[in-house]
Amino acid sequence: MNTRHPGLNLGAHHGAADDAAEVEIFGFWVFMMSDAVLFGLLMATYVSFLGATHGGPGPQTLFDLRSITVQTVLLLTSSLTMGLAQLAMKHEEGTRRIVVWLLVSLGLGGAFLALEMHDFLSMIDKGGVPQASGFLSAYWALVPLHGLHVASAGLWMLAILGQMAWYGVDDGVKTGLLRLGVLWHFLDVVWIGIFTIVFVGGLA
């Protein structure tokens, strides 16, 4: 029963954390699958509401593709740095390196959120509030939910950093970081969907 599955698996020398990893990561992927249904349905809602602008502002007036592209780059890069943090853990390259890469990921995620906030505010300035139309309601139900996920993932990362300060890189921290990584990469996948469907699709 030693089948492996997607995710950064620990090695046998990680002891109990390695045994726990299989079930915990698998469980977390299953959780992500149900979360994917959530985002998928909201994306479908958005697509079916594309025409429902009800005389309010549409994608052409509201979306700033340049800012969105920068956000995309920030978020995808944070996935890379999260991967580097996990590799540092897997190859036991020292706590400092893990912490540095995690902080870089957190910074990139924070920059993404800041930029997204800026976009939201400028949308509101242009009358792009959720109450304006079905189209905007669908937009505001989907995109901020992703942002909320990113913010929660950031909070979780802070909690894990706190555990590292308290206990060092112990089994709990290891499996916690593996799961956080799954969430982090998953949110990138979702963002690629949002980038394509909401922004590129909306402007097309």
Binding site: M1, E22, V23, F26, G27, V30, F31, M33, S34, D35, V37, L38, L41, L42, T45, S48, F49, A52, T53, H54, G56, P130, Q131, A132, S133, G134, F135, L136, S137, A138, W140, A141, L155, A159, I160, G162, Q163, W166, Y167, D170, G172, G176
Partner: protein, 701 residues
């Protein structure tokens, strides 16, 4: 009115006697009295439980041994307790509604339309989300890990959190009985009727948060069970060797993972509409009402199979155990289960055939719907052939099972009728539909759950349920069901709409009276179940089955003492084929000392997170319903804070020393040696101490 900072929009009009003080005529007064009586009943019941707990010094044990326990068996039992408590209310409401419809000729009766609307909304919500779901989740929780030879579910703490979320949802619905009103939008909560412009009050918000909390709990349970079945099976327990109940649990759990999120999306978007003025499901502003129908039934139809599949699993165990035979057509049953699970996602549009989509689309979904009758039919034949040439014992679960076979086929056939869009247009929104789905869910799900409760009760508590009261309850359920719902088919064909508070058609009266008599029988059936429990507890010495195998069971849970110890198996079991315990019994090996000796066993330590989630979840739902923002923020902060704090916990496990396990096993082994084995013909007598003579052996002697 500007909401109060402290109490939000909660004021005196929410109190249960408000309808009475405001009453302008006799009907409103009567309706108010019914509402007040129900509220009082709820409060008195809660106070009585609290008083009994205080008098018997039960709070400590309740907290230590139950509320904070992460043992899957205890969590399962608590789920079933929730289900039974809510069943009592759901049935009482049904009886009041039947009374109203019987008295409602010429527009009379005892309920105002608004009160009646709240009744059918809570009845549906309760029966689906707080009776059927907790019941089946409880049974799976209790049975499935033992059947696959596991110590626990994969995520014991998550299990407790799921229970906490379900309890929070149930608590909200109970609170709405006292702090009124509830939604009048039906259990499916269709907008625009549940939008703020039609129902500005608290009702739909109660519904939204109760349903959202419980559906989050169900999603997490589905994840937990799926991972458990994939990852925690003991050595040799291949997928195709699992008992049928595990297969149906697996398929139900997968359905939960994928079907509950659409509900969360639907209730979440409805909340955004109501709270923040979004235009998702509104009539104006570019909203689209049909989207709700699609989202809701994208959940709602698979939900039907989430409810029915575990019962199918129970039936497989019941028919096989009480026929003294292995299940007939195991492979086809597995295949049929998987087919049903997949097809359940392909039929949701049949819930709104009449809402204006094209005839072609209706035809596609009509045919897809009818297709489900094929695997279901396969199952029916497999169960009948399991009884064929078996030694059938008509025990209480078998009474339910045989009743199920007949009634469920009838309900299924009315479903095939409804799947034809042109017929659906004729009987749309009539009592025909109400008869159909009750015909599926009462003999299907509820009978299955009660049969499972009867079957596994001795494993949970160490004594059997009294069978005389069991037969009485079963008879009353079956007769009551037939009387209550067969008239509704006719009434539906005669054009009587569902959810009707009063009518002026004299011809409907005799059949509504018959249905009322049926509802009376069902109330008696529930009372009989209560009496059965009380009688069984009093006679528990005579009914005790400590050795743990009262029915000549076939799967691994029967290899354990009754009640099973916290750690389930003294050592990891090894399985060589299907009907694992039956095989062991045939080889005479199930009582042997474990070859490798005993070892230390790790079990999850108690945790307060589940109860914290239950309390904070209830508070959050209540606060959001009444716009008490400070409480909502506080409750969410408590939940998030508890989760973060939990991440810092490191000693989440405790060890049960090998010596304890060995002592427990040795004592049980000695008891088994001293306990005479009992033939199947004597299994309902006090002689049955849980040490069965296998049916196969009995035949040869």
């Amino acid at each position: 009115m500007t909401p109060d900072i402290l109490l939000g929009r909660l004021d005196a009009s929410a109190l249960p006697w408000h309808e009475i003080t405001e009453a302008e005529n006799r009907l409103q007064l009567l309706s108010g009295i019914v509402g007040l009586a129900a509220a009082l009943l709820a409060v008195v019941a809660a106070l009585a439980v609290a008083a009994i707990l205080t008098r018997r010094r039960g709070w400590g044990p309740l907290w230590r041994d139950w509320a904070t326990s992460l043992d899957h068996k205890k969590i399962g039992i608590m789920y079933v307790v929730v289900a039974f408590a809510m069943l009592a209310r759901g049935v009482a409401e049904a009886a009041v509604m039947r009374l109203q419809q019987a008295l409602g000729a010429d527009g009379g009766g005892i309920l105002t339309p608004d009160h009646f609307g709240q009744l059918f909304s809570t009845h549906g919500t309760i029966m689906i989300f707080f009776v059927a779901m907790p019941f089946l989740t409880g049974l799976i929780n209790f049975v499935m890990p033992m059947q696959i030879g596991a110590r626990d579910v994969s995520f014991p703490l998550l299990n407790s959190v799921s229970l906490g979320l379900t309890v929070a949802g149930a608590a909200l619905v109970m609170i709405s009985l006292v702090i009124q009103p509830f939604s009048t939008g039906g259990w499916s909560g269709y907008p625009p009727f549940t939008e703020i412009s039609f129902q500005p009050g608290a009702g739909p918000d109660y519904w939204i948060w109760a349903v959202t909390l419980s559906s989050l709990g169900s999603t997490l349970s589905g994840i937990n069970f799926t991972v458990t079945i994939y990852k925690e099976r003991c050595e040799g327990m291949r997928l195709m060797r699992m008992p049928m109940f595990c297969w149906t649990s697996l398929c139900t759990s997968i359905l939960m993972i994928f079907a509950m999120p659409p509900l969360t999306v639907a209730t979440g978007l409805l909340a955004l509409d109501r709270y923040l003025g979004f235009h998702v499901f509104t009539n104006d502003g570019g909203g689209n009402v049909m989207l709700f129908a699609n989202l809701f039934w994208l959940f709602g139809h698979p939900e039907v199979y989430i409810l029915i599949l575990p019962a199918f699993g129970v039936w497989s165990e019941v028919f096989s155990t009480f026929s003294g035979k292995g299940i007939y057509g195991y492979f086809t049953l597995v295949l049929a289960t998987m087919c049903i699970a997949v097809l359940s996602f392909t039929v949701w549009v049949h819930h709104f055939f009449t809402m204006g989509q094209s005839a072609d689309l209706n035809a596609v979904f009509g045919i897809a719907t009818m297709t489900i009758s094929i695997p279901t039919g396969v199952k029916i034949y497999d169960w009948m052939l399991t009884m064929y040439r078996g030694r059938v014992r008509i025990t209480v679960p078998m009474v339910y099972a045989v009743g199920f076979l007949f009634l469920f086929v009838l309900g299924g056939m009315s479903g095939v009728l409804l799947a034809n869009p042109s017929i659906d247009f004729q009987v749309h929104n009539t009592l025909f539909l109400v008869a159909h789905f009750h015909n599926m869910l009462i003999p299907g799900t509820l009978f299955g759950m009660i049969a499972g409760y009867t079957l596994w009760f001795p494993k949970a508590f160490g004594f059997r349920l009294d069978d005389r009261w069991g037969y009485r309850a079963a008879g009353l359920w079956i007769v009551g069901f037939i009387l209550a719902f067969f008239p509704l088919y006719l009434l539906g064909l005669m054009g009587m709409p569902r959810r009707l508070v009063g009518f002026f058609e004299e011809g409907w009266l005799p059949l509504t009276l018959a249905a009322l008599a049926g509802a009376g029988c069902i109330v008696l059936a529930v009372i009989a179940l209560g009496v059965q429990l009380a009688v069984s507890i009093r006679r528990r010495e005579a009914l005790a089955v400590p050795v743990g195998d009262p029915w000549d069971g076939r799967s691994l849970e029967w290899a354990l003492p009754a009640p099973a110890p916290e750690w389930n198996f003294p050592t990891d079991p090894v399985v060589n084929g299907r009907d694992a315990f039956m095989q062991l019994k045939r080889q005479g090996g199930h009582l042997d000392r474990p070859e490798g000796g005993f070892g230390d066993i790790r079990v999850p330590r108690e945790s307060a997170i589940g109860p914290i989630v239950a309390v904070a979840g209830t508070a959050a739902g209540f606060a959001l319903t009444w716009y008490i923002w400070w409480l909502a923020a506080l409750s969410v902060a408590v939940i998030v804070g508890a989760m973060i704090a939990r991440g810092f916990v490191r000693d989440a496990w405790r060890t049960i020393p090998a010596a304890t396990v060995e002592a427990h096993w040795t004592a049980w082994r000695a008891l088994a040696d001293a306990t005479p084995r009992v033939r199947r013909s004597d299994e309902l007598r006090p002689a049955n101490r849980g040490h069965a003579v296998p049916a196969a052996e009995e035949r040869s002697t």
